[in-house]
Every structure is written in structure tokens, then in C-alpha cells.
């Protein structure tokens, strides 16, 4: 998924006509000051760190300014902060508005209903997880009907809006609905949605675009999300790769089998640290690349657990042997292997020639991997 920073999310909102505070992003204290001096951002203003993690207000990543100098100093204080593991490289400066109420609104997918769902609460401005369920309304939207007038009216009722504000809400919902569909969004969240005078303003914007729709959204291609550098490389090579906190590297094929492998290792007392899902491939090169990637993550031991379907056992064995040839002696790691399924015999034989024994039992092989991970280095 592509999680957009607040200011990028607001660009998307703006494109669809969602009302926003006047504001601009800045990448330096000086830029922040000049945005205020030029009147692009009116005073008083708020300066917000552009990070993906929540809880910025409490975490000191949001400040206020009444003068250009204060804007500069606030931006300076925030830029370069390490906020929950993210380095702050951008701040968003926005006019400070006089807010009478804070509401919550989001659009996402309800998997069980297989319908987009509008989530609403009159308790905005706090984490929605903390709001009591009785204060949250869910309105599913059928893609063939689109957002209907009666759903708009229901939303206004839930949020306690009437008259001009109800009309503003209907307009905003239509904008968000169009954005949700046209941008292939996974999540559009406005929290808080502020009542300002007789209008509504999206004070924050959380936008997640679906990865799978990337082919029709080249405009998001260059946007960083929350992957580690190795995860980013894996993504380019179309390998699912997640770094966790542990020392056993796991290479398996298929999300379910990979997860089950991690589970087994953990249940047996091991600490799986890297998970690498080959997916379905019959290209030995991809397997080689996966192992080279794994070698950069410096696992103590690697557990290879393959059930051959689309991915054949001999393909994996060949890719592994080639990877071992390429990895420098110093970066090598012990390998515990279990390859089953299509072309199992050939794969097992190829591994044996390279000095690696494939143990058919998942129980025994996983135990062996855990044992190796506990040995002194």
C-alpha cells in the first residue's frame, strides 16, 4: 500500500474539491518563514511534521506560530526530529482555524460485505480506535448505486449536522467518494473533520492508495512508503520481504505457508527475523536474488521451506546453489532446507550435491533451524 503523507493526501483531497485549510509544505526553516511572509500561509499558523505515524500532537511534532520568526523556529525544531523511527523531512504549515466541533469520517473497504464503507463519528479528533462503538456509524455504499442522497442524509444525522452544514457534508462526501473510486484508495480518513463557521474543513488527511492499482496510477510511483531499504529492493524484484525482530531467516513460497513456517519456528522457541515469500516462480534467477537479498539481512540461520506447485523444487534448488556461489564467504549463513512437492526428488538431489540436506518433515526441519539459531556464533 502507498501511504501518503498528510500534505500529499491533502493534494488528493483538493483535486476533488474537499475544503482544506490554506497551507503549504516546507522542507526547511527558511522556506517555512518565507511561506508565511509571502502570505501563502496566513498567521497564526500551525506547523506539523509530515510523518506517517499517528500521535503527532502529543509527541511534540505539531507547533504553532504567530509570527514568521516563530514559524521558522518551529519548523526548525520539528525538521530533523526522529519521530517514532521516521526522520522528519517535511513540515506542513497551515492557517490556524477557529473550530467549533471535531468529527470523524473515513471511507474504506468492508471485506465481509464486499462493499466500500463510510465510517462516521461525532467524536472526532481522537484515535477512532478509542471511540466507543456505539458512537461509530457504518454506512456501506454499493458500487452500482454509488453514494446516494439517503446515505448523505443519514451521515448528516449521525454527525448532528443540519441546514448549510448538512449540505456541505453531502458535497464533501461526494468529493471523497469520487476520490476513493478514481484514486483506487484503500483508505481515506479525515480526522478531525472540523466545523468552522458554517462550513466543514478537513484538518487532517490520511490517504492510502492500493498497491495493486499502481498500473493505472503512475503518479504515485515515486512516493516512498514505510518500507525499509531492503524491503524496497525486494519490492522492485517482486519478492514479498518483511523484516522482523529475530535471527532466523525464512524463505518460503506463498503467504500462508510463510506465515505458518514463522508460526512453527516461534512455537518451537525460535525467533524468525526475516520473512521472504518467493511467491510463485519457476525462474531460478529470482530464487538467487531472494537469497542474495537474504544474505544482506545477515540472518544467523536460514530456513528454506518450499512446497512445490508453480514453484518447482528443482528451480529453487538451482537458484539456491547459484546464490551460494555468488555470496562471499564472509556473508554465508547456514541453511536448513525442506523442499517438498513438484520435482522434489530432483531438487533434493541438487541440494545434496551442494552439501545441503533437505529434511522432508516440517517438524524436524523447523526444529533443526531453531537449534542452529541458538548455537553460539
Amino acid at each position: 500500500m502507498v501511504k501518503l503523507a498528510e500534505w500529499r493526501g491533502k493534494e488528493v483531497f483538493g483535486k476533488y474539491g474537499v475544503p482544506l485549510p490554506r497551507g503549504h509544505v516546507a522542507r526547511s526553516a527558511e522556506e517555512a518563514e518565507s511561506l508565511v511572509r509571502s502570505g501563502t500561509v496566513p498567521l497564526p499558523c500551525v506547523i506539523k511534521a509530515q510523518v506517517l505515524a499517528g500521535g503527532r500532537g502529543k509527541g511534540g511534532a505539531v507547533r504553532f506560530a504567530d509570527t514568521p520568526e516563530e514559524a521558522r523556529e518551529s519548523a526548525r525544531a520539528i525538521l530533523g526530529l526522529d519521530f517514532k523511527g521516521e526522520k522528519v523531512r517535511e513540515v506542513l504549515l497551515e492557517e490556524k482555524l477557529s473550530i467549533s466541533r471535531e468529527l470523524y469520517l473515513s471511507l474504506t473497504l468492508d471485506r465481509a460485505l464486499r462493499l466500500p464503507i463510510l465510517i462516521l463519528s461525532s467524536q472526532g479528533g481522537v484515535e477512532i480506535e478509542a471511540v466507543d462503538d456505539s458512537q461509530i456509524e457504518r454506512i456501506s455504499i454499493h458500487p452500482f448505486a454509488g453514494l446516494t442522497g439517503y446515505e448523505e442524509r443519514r451521515a448528516a444525522e449521525v454527525l448532528g449536522l443540519s441546514g448549510t452544514l448538512a449540505k456541505a457534508l453531502a458535497q464533501l462526501l461526494r468529493s471523497l467518494w469520487r476520490a476513493f473510486v478514481d484514486e483506487d484508495a484503500e483508505l481515506l480518513e479525515v480526522n478531525p473533520l472540523a466545523v468552522v463557521g458554517d462550513g466543514l474543513v478537513a484538518l487532517d488527511a490520511k490517504v492510502i492508495i492500493e498497491d495493486d492499482a499502481a498500473f493505472r496510477h503512475p503518479e504515485y510511483a515515486e512516493i516512498r512508503d514505510d518500507r525499509t531499504p531492503l524491503e524496497e529492493i525486494a519490492r522492485e524484484k517482486d519478492i514479498a520481504f518483511v523484516q522482523l525482530d529475530g535471527n532466523i531467516g525464512v524463505i518460503a513460497n506463498g503467504a500462508g505457508l510463510t506465515m505458518a513456517t514463522l508460526d512453527v519456528l516461534q512455537e518451537l522457541g525460535g525467533r524468525p527475523g526475516i520473512f521472504l515469500d518467493l511467491g510463485g516462480t519457476d525462474d531460478p534467477k529470482k530464487v538467487t536474488e531472494a537469497f542474495l537479498l537474504m544474505s544482506q539481512a545477515t540472518p544467523k540461520v536460514v530456513f528454506l521451506n518450499i512446497f512445490g506447485g508453480v514453484t518447482r523444487c528443482d528451480t529453487v534448488a538451482r537458484g539456491l546453489v547459484e546464490a551460494m556461489r555468488q555470496v562471499p564467504e564472509s556473508q554465508r549463513f547456514p541453511i536448513v532446507a525442506r523442499i517438498r512437492g513438484n520435482n522434489e526428488a530432483e531438487g533434493t538431489e541438487i541440494l545434496r550435491s551442494a552439501g545441503i540436506t533437505s529434511v522432508p518433515s516440517l517438524k524436524d526441519s523447523a526444529q533443526a533451524a531453531v537449534d542452529r539459531s541458538r548455537e553460539a556464533p
Binding site: P143, D211, A260, V264, T311
Partner: protein, 294 residues
């Protein structure tokens, strides 16, 4: 018909001229499936491994009476392929394709449903009834005819478990890999009634994973409407919250949909939940013995 497929199933392979399409058309034929047609626009009139290729599904159906489709068309064209199958009168569509945007799947699912077509998948290994028919990509070698039904959201983990059942000396009635995407054509709750009704299934193995509430919903159904014994396994107990685990569906959100909540719900519904996947065959054998089957 056992569950959805049987020896009357006549398959058209959409995207048959692609590498995967060709490989699996051959594998399906080896399984005993009637693969009657392939479709690739512009390649009509050719043949792939003895299977005639047509330009459109309509033509394939007209000429070969295909009644099921196996879709390998890459994600950007998958929605179109499914709509074409539906409009041509195909009533079972197995979508192997992965990475289909869920917005597309919403249209696909609701359109297919309104026209009476069942979708399995997307991003799924498909369906197989050993000795009868297979529509999809589950390796032929894991099967053996028998009386254990299997439904799963996973791919290879399903192969692993189905294979374990075979190696234990048991066999399967029908196995369905539903796919792990956020929007699937057929969920556990949709598949359960078919296995309940199926006279060839004595016991059901349900393989779930973290994310969503499909397993909790299944538990609810099992508690009230499912009379056969259920052995379950949930993958992802060790997954940290919020990390994407390969499947778009495998995200733990808001404290719901964890392996623990799923396992607890299934146990409360009377299912036996395995701690390790390799325990499943023993549990199945034991259950069958207790209920007097086999």
C-alpha cells in the same frame, strides 16, 4: 456434482497462450479435467497442447459448451476477462490472477453475483475434486480421492496440508483454495453450505489466516448450521500487528482478526484447532474414527 466441479465440468482457460495458462492447462488435463477451450484475443484458430484457442469466450462457449473458466489473464485485463466470461454464460469462474485491484474485484464480484456466476478467487489456487475435475493450479500430486473436504485462504499452505492428508493414507472429496485477497468471490461462509450438503464429504479441514473476519464468520456459521466435524488451522500467530504479510488480506487491524480470536471462535463453534500444520492429518484421522467414518 460434488462441490462446484465434477466430471461434467468443461473448462475454458482464459489466457491459455501465456506461460502459466499453458502449463496449467496441461496439468488440468493430466488431472482428468475436460479442458475444452482456450481464449486469447487475436490467437483464435490456433491450438495449445491440443486445446483449441478462440478469440472470445462467447465463441468458445458456442463451440465447445464450456461451463467453467480458469482465468490467468494478468491483473490489468482480469476484470474484463471475468465480465466476458459472465456475459458468455459461464457460471463458475476460477480467477488465478493475483494483484487485481480490489476496486475492480468489487465490480467483478457484484456483477457476477447479479448474473448468477460464482467466482473462486482471485489470487487463488482454485478447486479440485480428485478423480473428477480440477480448475486451477493445485499440484496434482497432493491429491487422492477420499472423504475429507478442504477449504483454505492460502495457496502453498493448502498444498502442504492436503499432501499431509494424502501421506497419512486419507483422501479428499473436494478442496477449494479461496484466495487471500481483501475481496474474494467465495468466502468460507459461502463454501460451508456446499460441503454440508455434499454427501461425499465426511469431515472438513478449514485453513485460515490472519486478517479480516472470514474465520470468525465461518465459526458463527459452523456453530449453527454445520453438522460435520471440522479441523482448523490458522496461519499468522507470530505476525506482528499492522505489517503486510504478502497477502493484501493478511493485515491485522484494530485488534480484530488475530490468529487468537479466530482460533477461539472456531473452538467455541466445536472445531478442533491444530497448533502445527503437521498435526492436522492425525486430528482428521482421529475425528473420523470417533464419528464412525472410515
Amino acid at each position: 456434482m460434488t462441490v462446484l466441479v465434477d466430471s461434467d465440468t468443461r473448462v475454458v482457460v482464459q489466457g491459455i497462450t501465456g506461460h502459466q495458462g499453458t502449463v496449467h492447462a496441461v496439468q488440468m488435463k493430466a488431472f482428468g479435467t475436460h479442458v475444452v477451450a482456450g481464449v486469447t484475443p487475436g490467437k483464435g484458430g490456433t491450438e495449445v497442447e491440443g486445446v483449441p484457442v478462440f478469440n472470445s469466450v462467447r465463441e468458445a462457449v458456442d463451440r465447445t459448451h464450456a461451463n467453467a473458466s480458469c482465468i490467468f489473464v494478468p491483473a490489468p485485463g482480469a476484470k474484463d476477462a471475468l465480465l466476458e466470461a459472465v456475459d458468455a454464460g459461464i457460471r463458475l469462474a476460477v480467477i488465478v490472477t493475483e494483484h487485481i485491484p480490489f476496486h475492480d474485484m468489487l465490480t467483478m464480484y457484484h456483477y457476477a453475483r447479479s448474473q448468477g456466476t460464482r467466482i473462486i478467487g482471485p489470487n487463488c489456487p482454485g478447486i479440485a475434486a480428485p478423480g473428477k475435475s480440477k480448475v486451477g493450479i493445485i499440484p496434482n500430486i497432493v491429491f487422492r480421492p477420499g472423504r475429507v473436504g478442504v477449504i483454505s485462504r492460502s495457496g502453498t499452505l493448502t498444498y502442504e496440508i492436503v499432501n499431509g492428508i494424502k501421506e497419512h493414507g486419507l483422501g479428499q472429496s473436494t478442496c477449494i483454495g479461496l484466495g487471500g485477497d481483501p475481496v474474494v468471490g467465495t468466502s468460507f461462509v459461502d463454501a460451508l453450505p456446499m460441503f454440508e450438503k455434499d454427501p461425499e464429504t465426511d469431515l472438513l479441514v478449514l485453513v485460515g489466516e490472519i486478517g479480516g473476519t472470514a474465520e470468525e464468520d465461518a465459526a458463527e456459521y459452523i456453530a449453527h448450521h454445520f453438522s460435520k466435524p471440522v479441523v482448523a488451522y490458522i496461519a499468522g500467530r507470530s505476525a506482528p500487528p499492522g505489517k503486510r504479510m504478502g497477502h493484501a488480506g493478511a493485515i491485522i487491524t484494530r485488534g480484530k482478526g488475530t490468529a487468537a480470536t479466530k482460533a477461539a471462535a472456531l473452538e467455541a463453534a466445536g472445531a478442533n484447532v491444530a497448533r502445527f500444520p503437521y498435526e492436522i492429518p492425525d486430528m482428521v484421522a482421529e475425528k473420523l474414527a470417533v464419528t464412525g467414518h472410515r
